[in-house]
């Protein structure tokens, strides 16, 4: 088959998926796999012993569980939002980063989806939030934000994976055909099944593109609503610091640096780990870094708005509740790490791969601290006198957090290993369009 060399443009992408794993890849898989085992142990302990293994109490009934949930949703949202906007705007960056932004979004939303079930006191009964005709004759309480959230997270998982999968079908067909040309029939069938028999008919392409853009367009309202529903879980309560109409906007705006930070760090990993420097080139990285900086500004605006409304406009109770949060370090660290730090990327000199990784991850971690500030510091002073014990996360919670991060990494490694990291058909499309332009010129 060596006579049948494909053009170099997308071959490397496909090659990255088909070539044997190097030692770095094995190390990555080993680390992430260990983390997944830790996750499994933490989950097993949680199911066996109960929420008691965590550090929660009254009033801190939520801790790492909801922080991580809100945070992962934020990561997923920002990454998805980014990918969807790229598809809709047909931006030049899309070929390079939108596929793995989608993948990151999907992995993050899967990591997030762990928590709503695991955080329950009786997780095996999670399906009671579904409207199914039970023997009790009782239905879910449809006014509950948690029921909204059940739909929100289900829809989020489904639509994100659909978005990702619809885009992946033609590329799966490419992988199928490449494997078949090498005579690896088993692999070809493994790729062929999810490729659904895609044969590249022009008519199919036409409807495929329509559906792809349709789903991308639907991702946007869904993302806003998913993040909004998470925010509403807090905003509909009477907790003084949570009961604010601005919370959904705050979640969306401050969620941006986390997703973009993760995507930026992943892009560096792709460039070096999968040798895809041509597809994710300097221009893409520059653009992404500036986007992160812009997201930092959006988050800063959200925090300024938060402080402004709490301190100047809201009633005394809200102000006092917010002052309690300001007394904890989490809020300030979040502002610095996710808001101020990315502003460095306005400087050309600082837009380097080595700097992207730490700042991208710190920006993401900062958003985690913002969620901590809300979930933990936000309830540490109830409206009435109460013997509040400070929330101290237990080892199990750390294990679950690191485990879910490992799960995220593991999912992405699998993605990078077995699937094209860059959208091949869009690259081809783009190249043909470029050729056309050149010819016209």
């Amino acid at each position: 088959m060596s006579t049948d060399t494909p053009p170099p443009s997308t071959a490397r992408v496909a090659e990255a998926a088909l070539r044997p794993l190097g030692w770095g890849g094995w190390l990555g898989f080993a680390l992430a796999g260990t983390g997944v085992v830790v996750l499994a142990i933490a989950v097993a302990r949680l199911l066996w012993v109960g929420i008691g293994v965590w550090g929660n109490n009254i009033p801190h009934v939520w801790g790492f569980d909801l922080i991580a949930y809100a945070w992962w949703i934020g990561v997923a949202n920002a990454a998805s939002l980014f990918a969807a906007v790229l598809v809709l705007r047909r931006h030049g960056l899309r070929t390079a980063v939108n596929r793995f932004a989608e993948a990151a979004a999907l992995a993050a939303v899967l990591a997030a989806a762990l928590y709503p079930i695991l955080h329950l006191g009786r997780p095996w009964l999670f399906y009671w939030t579904l409207p199914y005709p039970s023997t009790w004759g009782l239905w879910p309480q449809f006014g509950s934000t948690l029921v909204w959230d059940f739909w929100g997270i289900s829809a989020h998982v489904l639509v994100t994976s659909m978005f990702w999968y619809v885009g992946l079908i033609p590329d799966l067909a490419t992988l199928r055909d490449r494997a078949a040309r090498r005579g690896r029939i088993g692999l070809a069938r493994a790729y062929g099944l999810p490729a659904l028999g895609w044969r590249g008919s022009v008519a199919h392409w036409h409807r495929h593109q329509a559906a792809y853009r349709m789903v991308a367009a639907l991702v946007l309202p869904l993302l806003l609503s998913a993040q909004t529903v998470v925010a509403l879980e807090f905003a509909v309560t009477v907790v003084a610091d949570w009961h604010q109409a601005r919370l959904p906007l705050h979640f969306i705006a401050t969620g941006l640096p986390s997703g973009l930070g993760i995507v930026l760090a992943l892009a560096v990993a792709l460039r070096h780990g999968l040798s895809l420097r041509e597809f994710v080139d300097r221009g893409d990285m520059d653009l992404l870094a500036r986007l992160l900086a812009a997201a930092g500004i959006a988050a800063l605006l959200a925090w300024m708005h938060e402080a402004g409304t709490a301190l100047l406009q809201e009633d005394g109770t809200t102000r006092d509740a917010f002052l309690v949060r300001l007394a904890g370090p989490a809020w300030w660290i979040a502002v610095v790490m996710s808001g101020l730090l990315p502003q460095l990327f306005w400087w050309q000199k600082l837009r380097r791969d080595l700097i992207f990784v730490p700042i991208g991850l710190l920006a993401a971690a900062g958003v985690w601290l913002d969620r901590w500030s809300l979930v933990v510091d936000g309830v540490s002073r109830p409206r009435v006198p109460f013997p509040v014990t400070a929330y101290a996360p237990s080892g199990d919670e750390w294990a679950l957090l690191l485990g879910s991060a490992s799960f995220f990494a593991f999912a992405l490694l699998c993605f990078g290993r077995f699937l094209p990291a860059v959208s091949m058909f869009e690259t081809r499309h783009e190249e043909s369009e470029q050729e056309l332009e050149e010819e016209e010129r």
Binding site: G121, W128, T237, T317, V384, P385
Partner: protein, 877 residues
Amino acid sequence: MSGGATRRDALRVMGASIALSALAGCDEPDEFGHPLHGRGRGVASEDAVFATTLELDGLGRGVLVRTRGGHPIKVEGNPRHPASLGASDVFLESAPLSLHAPERSRQALQHGRPAAPGASRDAFNGLRGEGLRIVTGPLSSPTLRRLVAEALAANPGSTWHVHDPMADPASQAAALAAFGEAVEVLPDLRAARTMLCLGADPLGHGPAQLALARAWQAGRPRLLVAEASPSLTGARADRRLALHPAEFEPLARAIATELGVAGLVAGAAHPAAASLAASLREAGSEALILTGRGQSAAVHAIAHAINAHLGSRALRFVPAPAAGGAEMAPLEEAMRANEVSRLLLLDVNPAHDRAGFAAAMGRVVHSVHIAERVDETGRVASWHLPLNHPLESWGDSRAFDGTPSIRQPVARSPGGEVMGAVEALLALLGWEGTGRDAVRETWRGAWGEGDFESKWEEALEAGVAGESVPAASLALRADWDLPGRPIPPGLAAHFAPDPHLRAGAFAHEAWLQELPRPLTRLSWGNAALVAPETAARLGLAPGDEVELSLGGESLRAPVLPLAGQAVDCVTLPLGFGRRAGGPVGEGRGFHAAALRPADGAWVVPDLTLRPTGRRVALIARESQPGLEPDAAKVIGPGERLPPFAPTPSLHQPWSYPGAAWAMAIDLDACIGCNACAIACQAENNVPVVGPEDMARGRGLHWLRVEKHDRPEDRSVFQPVPCMHCEKAPCEPVCPVNATLHDHEGLNAMVYPRCIGTRTCSNNCPYKVRRFNFEDHRRRVDTPARNPDVALRPRGVMEKCTYCTHRIQAARAEGRLDTVETACARACPTRAILFGDLNEPQSDVARARQDPRSYLMLEQLGTRPRTSYLARVEEGGA
């Protein structure tokens, strides 16, 4: 109904006969009590209520015990008994819990090893003879006193010692000096207009607390309190002074000087004396001085003199019902001198309460310890014999005012060698007969043979066996003053009973260990209480460990700075540091009794305190202030609060045409005694979570009693149950309809439906919801649990239900107008009212119309069904 011999009835009759035949198989079918009312005697599966008596510090309090299937499940006050008046306290409420404690003794031990069955006879045989020493607690029981006297008569040269770690020798000495008789002062708080308490704590826990608190609530005298360490009375005072122990005698003398009391040997001056004396003088014969533990004999005597001088009508004198018996110190000396060879210790634990007792007791060849559990004394004794729980055996008692009552068993004895105290003395005497026979014998002697049986039946049913002792009219002796050695200033140790454990007698009660103490908020431990000024001077933070040295002894203890504590006075709560007696009490806190001198003094000067630099994790459930300022409202006398104005809503309100259950809590009546909290725990099978989870903030108490700080280091106590909001914020956030409203406005919690999202707790502005972080069911599932209340599995929310099972039972029995929650039933001052808001004449409906009525966090529009009545204070908010 006439032809209604249904299948159920047939089964019931069958069950009854089976139960009766089972009972008939026992030795003493008649031993098993006399129910006040119930479906029928011997029908084990049915409800029954017994009137009986439980003791605190040797003094009886009448109770009604509800049993189910032969098991006591709830203790409530007996309205006909003067020491209860229908109310209960933490000790009464927790009585059924220890019935099923796994560490209870079931067999005789000889030198720590199980003795052969029937060998306990040897233990008693060895006691008989010359030089027998009998040690009991304070005894008011006529039968026990009679049998002890018989035993003393039967064994020449024998002595009866009374071990009472709660005794106040100075008070007894002062009574002898002032009146020549061992009498006790019974204050009449209904008649008093102004009361000055010098270290006295009439509203605090004790055998007369329920009666005194009820009378205080009825009379509401002006309370002036001077005390070294905060107490419940001080918390409620109209004026409170924190005084170092050395200052009390000068203050008392100065007041006496101001009032011109005759017979005063030495005068003194004190800055607070003039105004206090003026208040007393103004009230005249309606004034009263009350003195408490920790005061010197001189202070007690001066108080007697002032009361006599003012001609106070707000008190009477009664002979102490439990007086008598020799002191413990001579016994200890005799044991050390190897002069004691026969020693019987009946339901006492001096090895814990007295520092050197265990070592001395080790020299006694034949010592027999009879108690419910192998405690410190039981470990040293050569014999340990198991004792019945008070609810399992016959006996009798006298209340603080001398009112006698019979104690009848309400639960079956474990059998075997487990015996009651009366039976133990019978065995010592070698007499035949049962405990019941002995008690009947006593009262046959008192009542005569004539209509004994009817009197006996009446006494069992009423729970009261006669009248209180008539007041003695006593004249003050001229040489009443006892100018002794005054307490010097400087760091002083002030021993105090723990509010829940007393001197340690209740250390095995997990409910009492866990519930935060009213003032220190400590749970599962004690701490040396110091004034904030003292702590600041020594650079001590809560939990810092110090070494306390007193008279050559020393121990390590964590400190807790407590507002209202007198400067340089270190309060050492007793009852902790148990080394035996069961896993609940062992190893909790520090053993303050180890420092206490042999004479049982409550205040000892010349304490030294040295920080060790180490820290101890205290479990102090201290509340931080809420975001909203006025959870507990305080108003001036005569002030009115604005009426409740409902907040507007988009939605139509739900109507409640039937009953609308509601609760009203009077903050002005609440004394913070915690009885409601324990009553709730007992009624609703609320689990104990243990010290680790308490420290993590996972306590499950459905009803918490908040303490709000007031000027002069006083406090407002606020019981906080579920508010049962009509627009409950917890409900709309539940995804599975596990919490919703019933048709009478109860905020119901459906445990089997709950999946544990905990979001309802987040959305409860009153923070009354509790979560089962672990599975506690096994610990609660004893026969003492209330079968009407479900046990909650792990992962499920729970909270106050307004005792909905009681409402249902009342509805089934057609007595809805008298339904009461467990907390309302327990409250000694009737601060908690429960009833139907739709019934205009109900207590709650009227309380809602009170100008002091308000709703907590009313501005949130939750429309709570639980309302509060504001506290009234001189000077107002």
